[in-house]
Each structure stands twice: as structure tokens, then as C-alpha cells.
């Protein structure tokens, strides 16, 4: 499979690296709303970037601006050093996968996949082989003569993928490509797409609202909210070191504690009316901060248990215990009424049941501080 995929390009472009894409100050205003608000970021050749955000975050508009379907009001799109902001869609040489596949329903699978080649002036006799290789790369060899309507959703999306990569574009755009597929298929396709993009060295810009997909597939994630770029970094950075509350809330489950951090003896402490949150590192003077604690870092102990040394402690009452296969999610109502989320291994017996008073503990090192946030 590896062989066929890497041979899929026109002669002379073997292993052509993906494009370097620079977005500089992109702005798009619809009426009163700034759908995309001054977004600048760079995608290195061969990188897999995910534009992540809730609906209305501007991620799709940004993708459509890169594709050329929407004109930005301000800013530049530079691909391999060339400003393509004014280049019409059909001359940008981009591959794109749409959420609903967007196959040409009146054409055969082979004609669908061959369409970009045909538009690029590749002769008919050369097309057939390239089309077949692209189909083999998505495990659909021999399906060329079928009609898209005869295929399942997953197969249709593979055809769409083959069509997007057949001409070996330096840049592949994907607009929620897996949104219409069921979970099992989605996960298989995530791996598939990642393998293909690596083998072909494509630069990929993928749009999704699914944080799990973003974390699994991406080299870089650009988190968008309200049209603005919230944070841009590796999945590890976005999950482990969120720079803002928005980022901490969007990626994965998190417990947030807001307050003033100050020095108490040897420790830095976020003092809350009902508990103490130890904060790693030295704190010169007092400052506002938000502390992020991931649910898996928290341990649940019975209310009367001997307190462990130098841990953060928080009393609460178990309000729900949700079994989720490989883990269980326990909701604990804190003293201020806010609900805290704890993830435990589902194998180990839970030392409590719903309604019990418990103490939550976690190591200071496992939490992350968002400085300056108030």
C-alpha cells in the first residue's frame, strides 16, 4: 500500500513536499460580526494543522478563505512564498475534502477521481493509471466503474479523498471530513488520512469541532473562538499548557479554580473559601490566576482519611458516578456548589458511592496555571 500511494503523483513530482502556508492578518466581516478576526499563523510543509473550534468560531470561514470560496476583507494568504489572495479558486491547485463528500453524482467513481487531472490537462490514457493508484491508496482499487450512489458513506468519503489527492496538490483542505461517519469508521479514517498525508508529504489544514479528532490527528492545533485565534501549538501544548480558560475548557475535561495566588510558608497557594489549592513554582507576591486540574489527576478519598502531605485538598459530595467502559467519570459537588469532574480507572473499586462525603486530592505538579487570567 505504501508503494502505491507514493507512486500516485504525476512523474517528476515524486515525494514533492507540501506547501508552506502563511496566513497574515486575515479578517472577514459579515454585517456586524467579525467571523474571522485578525488570524495569523504559519503551517510548515508537511504539517497537519487542525482548525478547532465550536460552531461560529470562524474555522470554516477561514478554510473557505484559504480555498478561495470566500474573499477575505483584510490579510494575505501566502503559499510557498506566493500571495494567492487574488488567485481564483480553480487556479490555486488545492485539494479539498468536504463534509458531505460532494461527489459528482452523475459521474462514475473513476470520472470523479479523474476530474482534477482532466482539469489540469492530463491526457485520458495517463489519467486511468493515476486514478487507479489513487483509488488503491484509499483501498478502493477496482471500484472505478461504480456509481458513487452505490457506495457506503465511508467508501464515498474515500473516493472524495482520492479525488482530493490524485493530482498531488501541495495543500489539502478538509472541511469536517469525518463528521458524517459513525465513530468506528471515523477512527479508522483518522488513521488512514494521517497515514496518507504523511506518505504523500502533504500539508493538511483540517477543520473540526471534535477535540478528540484534533488531538489524535494533528501536528498543530489552532484553536479558534469568536473568530479569533485563541492558541496555536502542538496537541500536547494545547492540552497540557492551555494559555487561556477558553483553551482549557475546550480541550478535554477540566476543573478550573479561579482566585488569588499567594505565598504561604514554603508553598504557593490559591486560597479558596473552602479549600486550598497548592500551586507549583514560586510566586513573588500576590496575583490573579486560574488553576487547571485535569480530571484524571484527581484522587478520591473517604472524608475521614488521613491527609496526605503536600497535596491539594478539596471536600465535596459525590453527585454522580458514570461508567464509561475503560474509565468512570465521577462528579463531585464542591463546597461552593460547583461540580468537579474526576476520572478514575474503572477496574479499581470506588471508595465511595453517590451521596458520600469525600475529599479530593491531587499533586500540585499535576495542575497548570493560566497566569494573569482573572
Amino acid at each position: 500500500m505504501t508503494e502505491t500511494a507514493t507512486q500516485a503523483g504525476p512523474a517528476g513530482q515524486e515525494g514533492s513536499p507540501g506547501a508552506r502556508v502563511e496566513l497574515a492578518g486575515i479578517v472577514k466581516v459579515y454585517g456586524e460580526t467579525r467571523a474571522v478576526d485578525d488570524v495569523s499563523l504559519t503551517v510548515e510543509p508537511g504539517q497537519f494543522l487542525t482548525l478547532l473550534g465550536a460552531s461560529g468560531s470562524g474555522k470554516t470561514t477561514l478554510l473557505r478563505i484559504i480555498a478561495g470560496f470566500v474573499d477575505a476583507d483584510e490579510g494575505r494568504i501566502v503559499v510557498n512564498g506566493r500571495d494567492i489572495s487574488q488567485v481564483p479558486v480553480h487556479q490555486r491547485g488545492i485539494g479539498m475534502v468536504f463534509q458531505n463528500y460532494a461527489l459528482f453524482p452523475h459521474l462514475s467513481v473513476a470520472a470523479n477521481v479523474g476530474f482534477p487531472l482532466e482539469m489540469r490537462g492530463v491526457r485520458r490514457r495517463d489519467r486511468a493509471a493515476l486514478v487507479e493508484r489513487a483509488l488503491e491508496a484509499v483501498h478502493l482499487g477496482g471500484y472505478g466503474r461504480r456509481s458513487p450512489k452505490e457506495l457506503s458513506g465511508g467508501q464515498q468519503q474515500r473516493v472524495a479523498l482520492a479525488r482530493a489527492i490524485v493530482a498531488r496538490p501541495p495543500l489539502l483542505l478538509m472541511d469536517e471530513p469525518l463528521g458524517a461517519l459513525d465513530r468506528r469508521l471515523r477512527e479508522a479514517m483518522q488513521i488512514e488520512i494521517r497515514r496518507l498525508s504523511r506518505e504523500l508529504g502533504l500539508t493538511v489544514i483540517n477543520v473540526t469541532h471534535d477535540q478528540e479528532e484534533a488531538l489524535t490527528m494533528s501536528d498543530r492545533i489552532a484553536l479558534l473562538a469568536g473568530g479569533r485565534l485563541v492558541q496555536h501549538g502542538t496537541p500536547e501544548e494545547l492540552y497540557g499548557l492551555p494559555e487561556s480558560e477558553v483553551a482549557a475548557r475546550f480541550l478535554g475535561e477540566s476543573n478550573l479554580f479561579r482566585g488569588r495566588v499567594r505565598r504561604e510558608g514554603a508553598d504557593s497557594v490559591l486560597a479558596l473559601p473552602y479549600g486550598r489549592v497548592l500551586v507549583p513554582g514560586d510566586t513573588p507576591g500576590e496575583r490573579e490566576a486560574v488553576v487547571v486540574v485535569r480530571p484524571s489527576a484527581i484522587r478520591i478519598r473517604p472524608a475521614g482519611a488521613e491527609p496526605s502531605a503536600s497535596v491539594s485538598r478539596m471536600p465535596g459530595v459525590v453527585s454522580a458516578d458514570i461508567y464509561a467502559g475503560d474509565s468512570r467519570k465521577v462528579l463531585v459537588a464542591g463546597a461552593d456548589g460547583a461540580e468537579l469532574v474526576v476520572r478514575c480507572e474503572s477496574g479499581a473499586p470506588l471508595p465511595c458511592s453517590v451521596g458520600d462525603e469525600v475529599v479530593l486530592e491531587w499533586d500540585p505538579g499535576s495542575c497548570h496555571i493560566i497566569p494573569g487570567a482573572a
Binding site: 491547485g93 459528482f104 453524482p105 452523475h106 456509481s147
Partner: protein
């Protein structure tokens, strides 16, 4: 939900009511006598033979066929263009385009007939396939327009975008993707336009000349001088053609799909 027996019987009764006059006319056409009578006297195809060898009827048949085809082609072209304007134009309000395109359906045929008559006298166009073909194209246009507009609103814009991003210009996208997708609907509209022209008599009466008459017009003038079984034979022939067209509309799209799948 399946209809109950009573409902189905009622539907059959209504259908029978609709087709009875046609069946009676068809029956009178196979009479061996020389009068229109029901039930027919004996059985013979002599009146069909008479009609199909009579130069007057044959000329009228040819005229009707030509006018119908021209009307269908023109209606398809204009109706499809207007449907695109209604669905896709950035400048024209869709309500305005739709209103204009379906207007021919609401204008009384007498008014339309007088209108065309007056205009054609002015421009010196009358008594030929072109003049009546244009008039019938206008009358048939709404069929094409409504059909294509419905098909066009069903075309996923992202399919067109996929073509654009694949390297197709807007013109190529239109020719290779959008038009083929709405072509079956346009064809159905065209067939309906043909059928509406095929039996249209009011406008055709206004625009006929002694040298240029369509089948319905000839029938009309013959009926006025007395009904012969030849009229019944022509009526039956006209009906058969219309039925054939209706069958084409109903079965055509399925056949097209099958053929496409094979290629």
C-alpha cells in the same frame, strides 16, 4: 400508509370518469360506417387509413410536430436560463424572475392569442412554424422553469465547489457538473411543453393561415362542418402521441439512470 379498498375503488371510479370520453372517441374511430356512432358499427381501420393518406391531415400533422419540437427546444433553453437566474443570480430578485417565468400559465389563452396576433402583424411574422413555435414556447416555458428550478435547488453547492477547487472554471463547472445534473428535469419540462403545444388550439387558431394549420386547428374547422369518423381517428392519434410522451416523462428518468450506470 396503504390506501384502503374503498379509497382505491373510489380512485378507480374517478379515473374511469376521466378516461371515458377519450375511450368513447377512440371507439368511434374504428367504426366501419360513415357516421360517428357509439357503439361503433363493426370494426375497421379505414378512417385511420383515410387520415394517413389525406395530404391535408398529413401536412397538419407535420406542422404540429415541427411546432411542438421547436416550442419544446425553445422552452427548454429559455426555461433553464430563467431557472438559473432565479436560483443563482446575485442581481435579480428571485421572486421577480419566478413571477415572470410562470406568468404564461396565468394569462388566458385568448389574451395570449390576441397578443401574439397583434405583435406578429406588426413584425410581419405569421403563418409559419417559427411564429407559432415561439408562441407555444412561451406557453410551455413554465413547465421547464418549474422543473429545472426544483432540480437546481436540489443541487448541492458543495458539489459545484468541489469542481471549482478541482480546477474547473465557472463555465466548465456549469457545463460538466450543474447542467448534466438538471438535464433530466429540463427534458421532462421539454416533453410537457411539447404536449401542451401538441393539443393547443386557441393561440393556434389566432395564428393560423389557410396555408399553415396545425392538427387541432384542422380538427376544429372540420368539426364545424360536421363530424366524421376521421375526426375521431385524428383525435385518437393525438391522444396516443400525448400518452407516449407522458410515458416518456414517467419512465424516461429511470431509463437514463440505468444507462448512465452502465457507462
Amino acid at each position: 400508509m396503504r390506501a384502503g379498498l374503498g379509497v382505491r375503488l373510489f380512485a378507480c371510479l374517478i379515473a374511469l370518469l376521466f378516461v371515458t370520453p377519450t375511450l368513447i372517441v377512440a371507439a368511434t374511430s374504428v367504426t366501419s360506417g360513415s357516421m360517428v356512432t357509439f357503439p361503433p358499427k363493426g370494426f375497421s381501420l379505414r378512417w385511420f387509413q383515410e387520415v394517413l393518406t389525406d395530404p391535408e391531415w398529413l401536412t397538419a400533422l407535420g406542422n404540429s410536430a415541427q411546432v411542438g419540437l421547436l416550442a419544446a427546444v425553445l422552452a427548454m433553453a429559455a426555461g433553464t436560463s430563467l431557472a438559473f437566474a432565479a436560483a443563482r443570480s446575485r442581481f435579480l430578485p428571485p421572486a421577480l424572475v419566478t413571477g415572470l417565468a410562470v406568468l404564461p400559465m396565468t394569462v388566458p389563452l385568448v389574451v395570449a392569442g390576441i397578443g401574439f396576433y397583434l405583435v406578429y402583424i406588426r413584425v410581419g411574422l405569421s403563418g409559419n412554424v417559427l411564429s407559432l413555435g415561439i408562441a407555444h414556447a412561451v406557453l410551455g416555458l413554465p413547465f421547464v422553469f418549474v422543473n429545472v428550478l426544483a432540480a437546481l435547488t436540489g443541487v448541492d453547492r458543495r458539489v459545484e465547489e468541489a469542481a471549482r477547487v478541482s480546477g474547473a472554471t465557472e463555465a466548465v463547472t456549469l457545463l460538466r457538473i450543474t447542467l448534466p445534473l438538471v438535464a433530466p428535469a429540463a427534458l421532462v419540462g421539454g416533453v410537457l411543453a411539447f404536449v401542451s403545444s401538441w393539443d393547443e388550439v386557441v393561440v393556434a387558431l389566432f395564428l393560423n393561415t389557410p396555408q399553415f394549420r396545425t392538427l387541432p386547428v384542422v380538427m376544429w374547422s372540420q368539426v364545424r362542418s360536421g363530424v366524421e369518423p376521421s375526426i375521431s381517428a385524428v383525435a385518437t392519434l393525438i391522444t396516443l402521441v400525448s400518452l407516449l410522451m407522458a410515458a416518456l416523462v414517467l419512465v424516461g428518468p429511470a431509463v437514463v439512470k440505468k444507462v448512465r450506470r452502465r457507462t
